[in-house]
Amino acid sequence: MRACLPGWLTGLVLCLVLLPASARTVTLTLERNGHPLTLSADYRPGETGRPAVLILHGFLTTNRFSTVRAMSETAEERGLTVLAPNLSYCYTHRRAPLQCTSLHRHTLQGDLQELDHWIDWLKKQGHRQVILVGHSSGSTLLLAWTASRTQTPVHGLILTSLFPLSGGRLGTRSEEISLARSLLKSGNPLPKKWHFLYCRGNYLATPESFLSYVEALDRAHILQWLKSVSQRLPVEIIMGGADRRYAKAGRDLLDAYRQQGARVIVIEGASHFFDGEHEFELQDHLDRLLNELEKEHQ
């Protein structure tokens, strides 16, 4: 692979030149809470007859995030159709990442519905087989979506930096969960600031939104979803060996993943975002896994 590095670099440069010309933004307009909600995604059509790759970004970011872009380029280079949607997080035509302090009204269910729309859209575009590629919370959402959906065109998942989003060791506070449940039960929808992931007490979200994530995206649910999905589809997990989230989630998580039937690849030294030279390794692994999944499909 390393011997082919010059060729890869040349190809990358060509892609960078050609990508803007071939990529286009596609939108979908939904109606949520009585208001129109426009979804957007980068769409790069590939060779017909080959699987489409849906790549989902991490928490509060967009499809412009560097890791997502690197993975999109890898898939595109393989001649695969790539769809990289932006979760709207209840903001129409969202193009920019959100902050912890942005008003969060989105819910897990809403996210999964948006994925439903994009899968349907791909189907409409003629793609019968879809490979799901996610990064971070995007991996979690794709896993949750796949677990909760049957009869999908998905025939493989490549999940990078897959971690649970809630849990006591991950900073989720049980009293906030209780408060949110209480507020939700009392019918008070006003947003509050919560501890969630890296948002330390400033995650401004409605109780419904907050609860939808913290209740569903814990370790148990993930392992459960992983187990069920692995039984149906090949699930490849790429993890950074130096991801600091191991400190809270525990490195035993990798074994747990393997135990659930997923194949785990650890890129030693790589962070949560596979930045630096580890991006190339990520792309190498991704390319290899896409090739394998495509061959399995054939």
Binding site: N33, H35, P36, L37, T38, C90, Y91, T92, H93, R94, R95, A96, L98, Q99, T101, S102, L103, R105, L190, P191, N202, L204
Partner: protein
């Protein structure tokens, strides 16, 4: 010219005036330089400030534009922000978003004060319940509906708020509404600009109200921050100049103080001491000089003191010398008596009656010549002592007047008997005591006296002239003394002081002294030479020769007269007023022959001896005095080439014995024998003829004087004389007579063989 007088009143300045003037000039110069320096630096600083102000204005304008750009970009970014646009889509959480989410977003700048969303028609997106009016308007105007920037000025709170309105459009270009953002513009200026020349914390808002952004210059006033380097340099330079001025003035004052200390005060001290010394007749002290710091000044002061002390010593010495010389000047050192000058001073001071006695020693000159001047001086000294001794008893003061003359001055009048007794006593004492004292007991010392009474109308000259007249009378009449009276007016010449002085000057200098010429004619009628006869002119008349010679005799001016005559005779010959082939004869006084330096006396005539006959005539009376010495003198003259003539032969005491030894060439027969010539055959004529024959035999030529008539001429020829002289031929004239009357042929001598 009045200004010159006005200025001259102040010059020369005193020392303190100069010090003040120099200090004033120094102060003016220093002040001028410092003022010029201050002015120049201030102008430079003001120019710098003007440039700085222009730069500051440009800097402010740039900062305003830059800040506006940043804020407008922020407003546009807000308008494009999905979260904001979502509020137009679903405004259910608008207020919540506005209050809690938006201020924490990256779009909320530190200078953002307020954000309001407006509907497309300019109304607030959602009404604010119980909300106080904010910075942004509740309703957008037509202008504000378009993208625009405004400034809200509040001079009370000194606040400047930028209001920026931007349209909010969906990605498909649909106008969703407007966003209005209020910014703290002053803070934005400070935050987004690095200002070098402006202090924004001192920005002042000077107008209120809402204005388009372009009007900002009329809303704010900023203070241009002075260039600290330039300000510091200005302060430093002015401080330096002030220090320099103080330093220069200090140095100047110090120099003046030093000048005063080193020079002015010492000079004052020296001047004061010099003045004190000038007034003092005591030796100078040098204590006051001890404090002078300049060595040269101290030295100068000491020199002044030493000079003063030396001057005092010299003055003392001079006083002593003056007293000594005064004493010498008023004392006759031979007779040891007060002299003529002393007498004159006494006479000038005295008042009232008195007696002046003029004493003369008869034949003193002969005694002096016979026994020598040493004995002569002894004689005079002893006479002086005698007079002093007698004067102490008789109450008179004795003076030596000149030569052999003494004066006795009596303050009290005396009658003739008393005077006679006094004079007799004096004559006797002199005659008896003095010869003994000088070891010449055999000589007879006789004195004669002229006496005059003194009064206030007769001064020194008058009294002396009268005494002289009386003395002359005594001598002439062989009297022991004569008391002056008016009957002695015959001696007026001697009483006429001015005439005497005129004659003396003429004799000594030659003024008005004339040489009349009378020819001496040979027997054949040719002029042999001219006798030069002394005459004196006064007031265009010729004085009586007797008067002239009386003064000469009385004043003993013989040698001076002869010297002057010889000098004028030489001038006569030099001017060739004497015909060639003739000559001149000059009368010499015996006093000149005996006492004078003949070589020096006759030196003027020596150049003419080869060309003219020069005859020196000597009176016969001279033969009685120092005959041997006279012979030696005449021999010397003859060796030089002079002819010697024995004048007035036969009138005195001469004898043939003298004649045979006398080295003379010619004998001039005295005119007293001319009576003999009036008859040619008398007994006297025959005796004369025999006498002349004897003289001829002795080798002398004979000149007969007093020829006045033709008969006398012829008879003189009968006597065989070689030459004749007299009025028959020519009277003495001022011009040289060259023409003689035609001489007649004389009848043959009957007595001749």
């Amino acid at each position: 010219m009045s200004w010159k007088k006005s200025i001259s009143k102040f010059f020369p300045l005193p020392s303190m005036g100069w010090i003040g003037l120099i200090a004033l000039i120094n102060a003016l110069l220093i002040g001028g330089v410092i003022a010029w320096g201050f002015k120049d630096t201030n102008e430079l600083y003001e120019h710098h400030r003007t440039v700085l102000k222009e730069q500051a204005e440009a800097e402010l304008e740039s900062a305003m534009s830059h800040t506006r750009q940043i804020l407008e970009n922020n407003a546009r970014a807000l308008a494009d922000w999905e979260e904001l646009q979502q509020q137009f889509v679903d405004p259910s959480y608008y207020l919540f978003w506005l209050k809690q989410s938006l201020p924490t977003s990256l779009h909320w700048l530190p200078v953002t004060r307020e954000i309001i969303l407006y509907t497309p028609d300019g109304r607030p997106l959602r009404a604010f319940a119980n909300q106080q009016p904010g910075l942004l308007p509740e309703q957008l105007t037509g202008a504000q509906l378009h993208a625009s920037t405004w400034l809200r000025a509040d001079p009370v709170e000194n606040r400047l708020t930028a209001l920026i309105f931007a349209p909010v459009r969906s990605p498909n270009g649909q106008l969703l509404g407007h966003v209005g953002v209020a910014y703290d513009f002053v803070r934005a200026l400070m935050l987004y600009n690095t200002l070098r020349l402006i202090r924004l914390d001192r920005l002042r808002i000077i107008r209120d109200g809402l204005h388009p952004f372009e009007k900002w210059p009329s809303l704010v006033r900023v203070r241009v921050e002075a260039d600290p380097v330039a300000t510091e340099l200005l302060k430093l330079s002015q401080r330096m100049m002030a220090i320099l001025a103080i330093l220069l003035i200090g140095i100047s004052l110090f120099n003046l103080w030093l000048f005063n200390r080193l020079f002015f005060s010492p000079m004052q001290t020296i001047a004061a001491q010099f003045l004190q010394l000038h007034r003092s007749k005591e030796q100078a002290e040098q204590n006051a000089l001890a404090t002078m710091p300049v060595r040269e000044m101290r030295h100068l002061g000491r020199l002044l003191s030493l000079s003063h002390n030396r001057k005092l010593r010299m003055l003392e010495k001079l006083r002593k010398s003056e007293a000594h010389f005064r004493k010498l000047a008023l004392t006759d050192l031979t007779a040891l008596l007060p002299n003529r000058e002393a007498l004159k001073r006494v006479m000038e001071k005295r008042k009232g009656e008195g007696v002046l006695i003029l004493m003369d020693i008869l034949h003193f000159r002969a005694l002096n010549n016979t026994y020598g001047p040493i004995r002569g001086d002894q004689l005079l000294r002893e006479i002086g002592q005698t007079l002093r001794q007698l004067g102490a008893h008789q109450g008179f003061h004795a003076f030596r007047l000149s030569g052999d003359e003494f004066v006795l001055l009596l303050d009290a009048p005396k009658d003739e008997a008393e005077l006679r007794s006094l004079i007799n006593d004096l004559s006797r004492r002199v005659a008896e005591q003095v010869p003994q004292r000088i070891d010449l007991p055999h000589i007879q010392l006789r004195t004669v006296y002229g006496v005059t009474l003194l009064d206030d109308n007769c001064d020194f000259s008058c009294a002396l002239s009268r005494a002289n007249a009386a003395l002359g009378w005594s001598k002439e009449h062989n009297l022991p003394f004569t008391l002056y009276s008016s009957r002695l007016d015959d001696y007026a010449i001697l009483l006429d002081h001015e005439l005497v002085e005129h004659i003396i000057r003429g004799v000594e200098r030659g003024d008005h002294l004339l040489l009349y010429r009378q020819p001496v004619v040979n027997a054949d009628g040719a002029i042999a030479y001219y006798e030069l006869l002394v005459r004196m002119e006064r007031d265009e008349r010729i004085l009586n020769p007797a008067e002239l010679f009386k003064v000469v005799d009385r004043r003993h001016l013989h040698t001076q007269l002869d010297t002057t005559v010889i000098r004028k005779a030489a001038e006569l010959l030099a001017r060739e007023e004497i015909p060639a082939g003739t000559g001149v004869s000059i009368n010499l006084n015996v006093q000149t022959l005996m006492a004078g330096d003949l070589d020096r006396l006759t030196r003027p005539l020596l150049p003419f001896l080869g060309h003219y006959t020069i005859v020196l005539e000597i009176l016969e009376t001279a033969l009685i005095e120092e005959f041997d010495q006279l012979v030696r003198q005449l021999q010397t003259l003859r060796r030089h080439g002079f002819k010697i003539a024995l004048d007035d032969f036969g009138s005195g005491y001469s004898s043939l014995r003298y004649l045979t030894h006398l080295p003379a060439d010619t004998v001039k027969i005295d005119r007293s024998f001319s009576e003999v010539l009036k008859t040619g055959d008398s007994k006297e004529f025959l005796v004369m003829k025999k006498s002349l024959d004897a003289i001829h035999t002795a080798g002398y030529t004979i000149v007969f004087e007093g020829i006045e008539t033709e008969q006398m001429y012829c008879n003189a020829r009968k006597l065989g004389v070689e030459a004749m002289q007299g009025y028959y031929f020519s009277a003495p004239r001022a011009e040289t007579p060259t023409e003689l009357p035609e001489l007649p042929p004389c009848p043959p001598d009957a007595s001749s063989p």
